[in-house]
């Protein structure tokens, strides 16, 4: 197993763990921040798979705009699940 494949599998496992944490957290604000971290991890995986277009889009949408919109939605509703 080469080094690149090893890093890629490690990133996939890390993404899975981050998604599980985002599901299980009871505080929705923390959950949104963990989801932004998962989105950045997914962008790195896309970049390693040689798709820089999708990586840029995923980083900008997932970590930038989606987080802001979720935070606004949480500030208008309840914070605890």
């Amino acid at each position: 197993m080469s080094l690149e494949l090893l890093i890629q599998n490690a990133l996939l496992v890390f993404l899975f763990v981050l998604c599980l944490i985002a599901i299980e957290l009871k505080d929705l604000l923390y959950s949104v921040i963990v989801l932004a971290g998962a989105s950045i991890t997914l962008a790195v995986i896309f970049f390693m798979l040689q798709a820089p277009d999708i990586a840029i889009t995923q980083a900008a949408v997932g970590a930038g705009v989606m987080t802001v919109l979720f935070v606004i939605a949480i500030s208008r509703t309840r914070r605890q699940e």
Binding site: P52, A60, A73
Partner: protein
């Protein structure tokens, strides 16, 4: 939303031109480097939204109003359709690349592709700012 502390305001004010420039670079170089209209527009919208959140929505609304964003979004969509109709007028089919192609790899090349990307970038940036405004003003009074 009333704005944040002076640290956040200073950082946002210093960071805004670079973020905006990066978004404009991604939109304008969409036919040369990875990127394009959608990611560039999203980055521009994120930079403007960062400024709004730092300075408070009341001050921001005097600079970029609800109506500005609506008009810009419609202008971006209209520009794409008008460029498509140029293809019918000067060529054969809708959205045909009728402008001169230029040399490969230069900034002014590839016919109407940079213009189409400019329209898409304007439309996406204005549309996301519009969604942001609509969600922020949803459950409270306040004129547009």
């Amino acid at each position: 939303m009333a704005g944040m502390t002076v640290i956040v305001r200073t950082i946002a004010r210093l960071l805004f031109p670079f973020t905006f420039l990066f978004g404009a670079y991604i939109v304008l170089h969409g036919h040369l480097t990875p990127g394009g209209g959608f990611p560039g527009g999203v980055i521009i919208a994120a930079s403007v939204v960062m400024l709004f959140l730092a300075y408070g929505i009341e001050r921001a609304q005097k600079r970029v109003g609800f109506l500005h964003a609506e008009v810009l979004e419609s202008v971006g969509g209209l520009a794409i359709v008008v460029l498509g109709l140029f293809g019918i007028l000067l060529g054969i089919t809708f959205l045909q690349n009728v402008f001169p192609l230029g040399t490969l790899g230069q900034l002014f090349s590839a016919g109407n592709l940079p213009l189409l990307y400019l329209g898409v970038g304007t439309k996406v940036a204005a549309g996301l700012i519009l969604i942001f405004y609509a969600m922020l003003f949803a459950f409270r009074g306040g004129e547009e």
